[in-house]
Amino acid sequence: MRADPAARGIGEPAWARALLAGLALLLLGVTLALPLLVVFTEALAPGLAAAAAALREPDALAAMRLTLLVTAIAVPFNTVFGLAAAWCLARHRFPGRGALRALVGLPLSVSPVVAGLALVLLFGRTGWLGPLLDGWGLRVVFALPGLVLATVFVTLPYVAGQLIPLLESLAPQEEEAALTLGASGWQMFWLVTLPRLRWGLLQGVLLCTARALGEFGAVAVVSGHVRGQTTTMPLQIEALYNEYNLPAAFGMAAVLALLALVTVAAKALLDWRQGRALAQGAASVLA
């Protein structure tokens, strides 16, 4: 039995290792664990019954419904987009491919507030397309379509960002084998490509979901903050907080944090299972 080289480190002294580990843990504790702890203790401070009552307010229920609805539209959209983008960018060579690849990651570097403003300038009453859409009786800004568009923009890179490098790393031989065996393009995609991408896809979808649930900046600009109508959970939390209704604010924050924790836990579970499957595959090859 040899020692795991990763566990031995690369030769730094024990005190340095302890210092680095301690610093990392301290940072994690202060920036991640403590805030989460505060949210949950504050939410439960007035008692479970009071917290539950605050969440049963009509405005609170409307905010939760709206957040789930926006997420339920934005995530499938970005899943399909991510698959299509990965297929185009990883399996085809065309002029402008590099630019398109960079563009997919753009929403990560643009401030969400700017994205929201851009949507207002585009679809607002006096925006470029606003009057046209008004003519059709379609309202985008200060309504559900605007919230969905803002969320789609912000969460666009998550699925594509997982799938593009993954598909680029997979050799195309399996797809070619499917083609020589008589598969149509769709059959090849559904039976061979998609199953090969399944774990990465699921992870991308979970990240996208977590981000969509919590999006604040872009949504805040296009929402208009109509209580019970265009206020999502993060916006509702801010509004409650600004009114000094702290128990209600923390209650809703706890629900949102819980949703995020569940998605992160699901992703961690996937990582763990995938790691185990890879280890098993490697072990059986060596056997």
Binding site: E174, A177, L179, T180, G182, S184, R198, V285
Partner: protein, 235 residues
């Protein structure tokens, strides 16, 4: 069975194929031999339909084939590294071609059993490719390619990743199978010994063109000149 005329294919500035013309008789076993970069794999991929030729013509079984998609050319292909579907069992791998052709489950199961027996892998249908040895994987790839009853079998370095003993066993198995089925077979190799052991005709490629086209009897007699003589001597 296969007729190639002036097949040409370039990748950017390099010419992978430079006017290859070749006739492959029905039931024959032809080795495409050459150093790396000689265009042998490209030629195989053009025949399979995985690569588009820039110029030239190709007939498979008397029909023009260049405009046909890979699945309509009646070719079975064994890839270098085998390209088995890692998420499917051995049985599902072998039955894939029948599945996408809409054959019924029971018919498929019977065919898979027959093919497993043919490549001596009885009882391994439920395994995943990752649970097989290299030699077993190669035979699964062969069975998968033969499942759709192609008229032509294409093999790209089918023994490349195997150790010597396994390689020699599989060679004998492949040769026997090819003769039993009488299937026209084109296989790519850089190994002269392998070419001589398996094929009844060896086509030597160099820089995308046919440098020599020899029957194994001619090779045995030593009637080889030019590049081919040099390549065969060092190969």
């Amino acid at each position: 069975m296969i007729r190639m005329e002036g097949l040409t294919k370039g990748f950017g500035a390099t010419r992978a194929l430079d006017g290859v013309s070749l006739d492959v008789a029905p039931g024959s076993f032809v080795a495409l031999l050459g150093p790396s970069g000689s265009g042998k794999t490209t030629l195989l991929r053009v025949v399979a339909g995985l690569e588009q030729a820039d110029a030239g013509s190709l007939w498979i079984g008397g029909r023009p084939a260049l405009d046909l998609p890979p699945g309509k050319r009646s070719v079975g292909m064994v890839f270098q590294g085998y390209a088995l579907f890692g998420h499917m069992t051995v049985a599902d791998n072998i039955g894939f071609g029948l599945r996408v052709r809409g054959r019924h489950r029971t018919e498929r199961a019977a065919a898979v059993e027959r093919l497993l027996a043919m490549v001596h892998l009885e009882g391994l249908g439920a395994r995943l490719p990752s649970q097989l040895s290299g030699g077993q994987r190669q035979r699964v790839a062969l069975a998968r390619a033969l499942a759709v009853e192609p008229r032509i079998l294409l093999l790209d370095e089918p023994f490349g990743a195997l150790d010597r003993q396994v390689r020699e066993e599989l060679r004998a198995g492949l040769r026997r199978l090819q003769q039993e089925l009488g299937i026209t077979t084109l296989f790519v190799t850089h190994d002269q010994e392998e070419a001589l052991a398996l094929a009844d005709r060896v086509v030597v490629l160099n820089r995308g063109a046919v440098a020599a086209d020899l029957s194994t009897e001619e090779l045995a007699r030593g009637a080889v000149k030019g590049f081919a003589a040099g390549f065969l001597a060092v190969g």
